[in-house]
């Protein structure tokens, strides 16, 4: 993507993300050609959209688009694993029917079809056959739902590689986590520069400065990991899992420091900080938490006894 195309696309995505509730955002994204951009530009479009989405604290069904596109058949909703889980959300039961337990984004409430994935295949089902319950949780604006279904009969099934699908989704969420973290840091820095105590801005106190510096360290660490993991068109499952974990952990670190610097005002529902905090607490659990992914990685490495290869210079 050249610089001019990138600037143009960024502008229109940013505009679309301001459309209002998630369903309106989905419609606006469709209007500005998000699906086509995803098709043509792949990871570069994912980086742009999810960065803007995290910065704007916006919600959409774009994660469903990324995941359904990764099955080869874009469109509709995608059933995610339950919060904190990273295994496929569905399994085949007796008689070839499917049983699913997971989460959906806002997309699930207005899509006709949904993709549910078992160990080796993606299955298309009607959303009418799913029991869908709205999630309020810590971040009601995200409009997540829980999904339960038994005895599902898919209209179509195709073989897929779950780790590869999961990796595509993890990178999208990781971009959003990094951008939400940057937004928290910006709020905290603005506050530190303008809030005066003892006759000077609190930004001049080293205890405050070092917390903010540590936040930037956590964010840049995550950004570097995500960017290398997203270098190739087909996301490497191992690198994507590491990047998602680093981004989730970094977001929690940034949130802790920024909230302390924001102090009283950051504890109110009047200041924007809480929206980002709510978002990162939720995003960390989509397609695996930092902690769960880290444990999963460690367990695997103890078995193989080899440090995974990193992309060469």
């Amino acid at each position: 993507m050249d610089a001019a195309t990138r600037a143009l696309l960024t502008g229109s995505l940013r505009q679309a993300l301001r459309a209002g509730d998630p369903r309106a955002v989905d419609a606006a994204l469709a209007e500005v050609g998000w699906a086509e951009a995803l098709q043509e530009e792949g990871p570069a479009a994912v980086a742009l959209l999810f960065t803007e989405q995290g910065a704007a604290n916006a919600a959409s069904g774009a994660l469903d688009d990324v995941l359904t596109a990764a099955t080869g058949r874009p469109g509709g909703a995608f059933v995610l694993p339950g919060y904190g889980l990273s295994a496929p959300p569905a399994e085949t039961t007796a008689g070839g029917r499917l049983r699913a337990r997971g989460l959906g984004t806002s997309r699930l409430a207005h899509a006709d079809t949904a993709v549910v994935v078992t160990g080796a295949a993606a299955h298309w089902v009607s959303t009418k056959d799913l029991r869908v319950t709205p999630v309020t949780g810590v971040d009601p604006e995200l409009r997540l739902v829980t999904v339960e279904a038994d005895g599902l009969e898919p209209s179509e099934s195709v073989p897929v590689d779950w780790p590869a699908l999961r990796a595509a989704g993890q990178l999208a969420v990781a971009y959003e986590l990094v951008a939400a973290s940057r937004a928290m840091l910006e709020l905290a820095c603005d506050h530190a520069r303008s809030r005066v105590q003892f006759g000077r801005p609190i930004a001049s106190f080293q205890a405050v400065r070092h917390r903010l510096a540590d936040s930037l360290l956590a964010i840049e660490t995550a950004a570097a990991a995500v960017s290398v993991a997203a270098e190739r068109d087909a996301a490497d499952p191992l690198l994507a899992g590491m990047a998602k974990a680093v981004a989730g952990r970094g977001a929690r670190t940034a949130a802790r420091h920024c909230q302390q610097v924001l102090a009283g005002i950051g504890f109110t529902a009047e200041h924007a900080f809480h929206r980002h905090l709510r978002r990162i607490l939720t995003l960390d659990g989509l397609l695996g938490t930092a902690r769960g992914l880290t444990r999963e990685l460690g367990t695997k490495l103890i078995r193989t006894r080899r440090v995974p290869p990193a992309p060469p210079l």
């Binding site: 106190f205 460690g298 006894r305 210079l313």
Partner: protein, 377 residues
């Protein structure tokens, strides 16, 4: 020569010359042995051409991308053929000479450093000047005949006991002139009036020295940069310290983590702690890799390299904290060569947030320069 060609050729050459390049001693070797071995590795890689790629032709290099320098140190560290702390001094000192020395001096001296014929040291810190480099007081006065006389003391000077030359920062302005009154010189360490006293460090090595200067004559031809322009020399050097050198160190940490993973007793490794350390090493690799590409593209490295330095410190300590949790008996009471190496590495890792600008100073730089938080007073 492009990076791909360099990588393939070097890997093959390293395979073929492993025996000549591999140290004959174990982890309990003396520092003298290690320095001798480093010279051997530098000479062999220089004579075969590998060490010359990525350096300008006017100082004995063969030109080409700095990525080749990054890869050479990485390959040597990954094969456990060098200790990057002493190897990567070249990456800090040679660029300073290339940028600030009179061209004939750089052309004469830099090849000796690259080939391992000489060791150089860096005289920056002083007893009263640690983090606040601008307050240094080692004095250089005009000798009345066009040259200079240096009197004062340096400390934490790595490798001074082996060095033939020193890149030295001195005070030439008034004591209050701060970073505006500093001048850099390239000093011969065998000049009368220089006394070197090694300091035994916590990990059992004479890691650094005190260096005393008693009315030491230095010709003006050995001045680096402008009179009172030494701050620019110091500032120019620091980003190098945080680019190629850190990449080499990352390769070393990766290697040690792989060694731990391969040899830890069953059940000793905690999955979560291991996973976190591996992720941290990966993230550092990712960050430093982007920095190598920025440097290779000719970008001027600046305060953003403080992030690299902070991340390296955190990563090195994360790796060795994992070592200390996984094989605590080797670190605490083991006396076999492998245990000695784990212990030495663990103890040395505690310095990773101190040397080359402490983690606190890096955070100050991040706050002021990258987050625009204004002055801290």
């Amino acid at each position: 020569m492009d990076l791909e060609e360099f990588r393939a050729g070097l890997d093959r050459w390293l395979d073929e010359h492993d025996e000549a390049l591999r140290p004959a001693f174990g982890p309990d070797a003396s520092f003298d042995d290690e320095m001798d071995h480093l010279s051997t590795v530098k000479r062999l890689t220089f004579d075969a051409g590998w060490m010359r790629w990525g350096w300008p032709e006017r100082v004995g290099g063969l030109g080409g991308s700095t990525l080749m320098r990054a890869y050479l140190g990485e390959a040597l560290a990954a094969r456990d053929l060098i200790e990057p702390g002493i190897y990567s001094m070249t990456e800090v000192l040679a660029p300073t000479m290339i940028e600030f020395a009179p061209p004939a001096l750089a052309a004469e001296m830099v090849p000796r450093l690259l080939r391992g014929d000489e060791t150089w040291c860096q005289g920056f810190s002083e007893p009263g000047t640690g983090s606040n480099l601008g307050s240094l007081s080692c004095r250089a006065r005009p000798d009345g005949a066009g040259g200079w006389r240096v009197t004062g003391q340096k400390v934490w000077t790595s490798l001074a006991q082996y060095a033939q030359r020193c890149v030295l920062l001195t005070r030439t302005g008034t004591p209050e002139s701060g970073n505006r009154g500093i001048t850099a010189f390239f000093v011969d360490m065998d000049t009368p009036g220089i006394t070197v006293r090694p300091i035994r460090a916590i990990h059992g090595r004479d890691e650094f020295c005190e260096v005393f200067f008693d009315d030491v004559p230095v010709p003006d031809q050995r001045r680096l940069g402008e009179v009172d322009g030494g701050w620019a020399v110091a500032m120019d050097l620091l980003p190098y310290e945080r680019s190629t050198s850190l990449w080499h160190r990352g390769a070393y940490l990766r290697r040690r983590l792989a060694d731990l993973l391969a040899t830890a007793p069953g059940g000793a490794l905690d999955p979560e702690a291991l996973g976190a350390a591996v992720q941290q090493v990966f993230a550092f690799h990712a960050r430093s890799r982007a920095t190598q590409y920025r440097m290779a593209a000719g970008e001027r490295l600046g305060p953003e390299t403080s992030i690299d330095k902070l991340l390296l410190g955190t990563t090195e300590q994360a790796v060795y904290d994992l070592v200390a949790e996984t094989v605590p008996e080797r670190v605490a009471v083991g006396d076999d060569p492998d245990s000695v190496r784990w212990r030495t590495g663990f103890l040395y890792s505690r310095a990773a947030t101190i040397y080359g600008g402490s983690a606190e100073i890096q955070r100050n730089i991040v706050a002021r320069r990258l987050l625009d938080l204004g002055s801290d007073r």
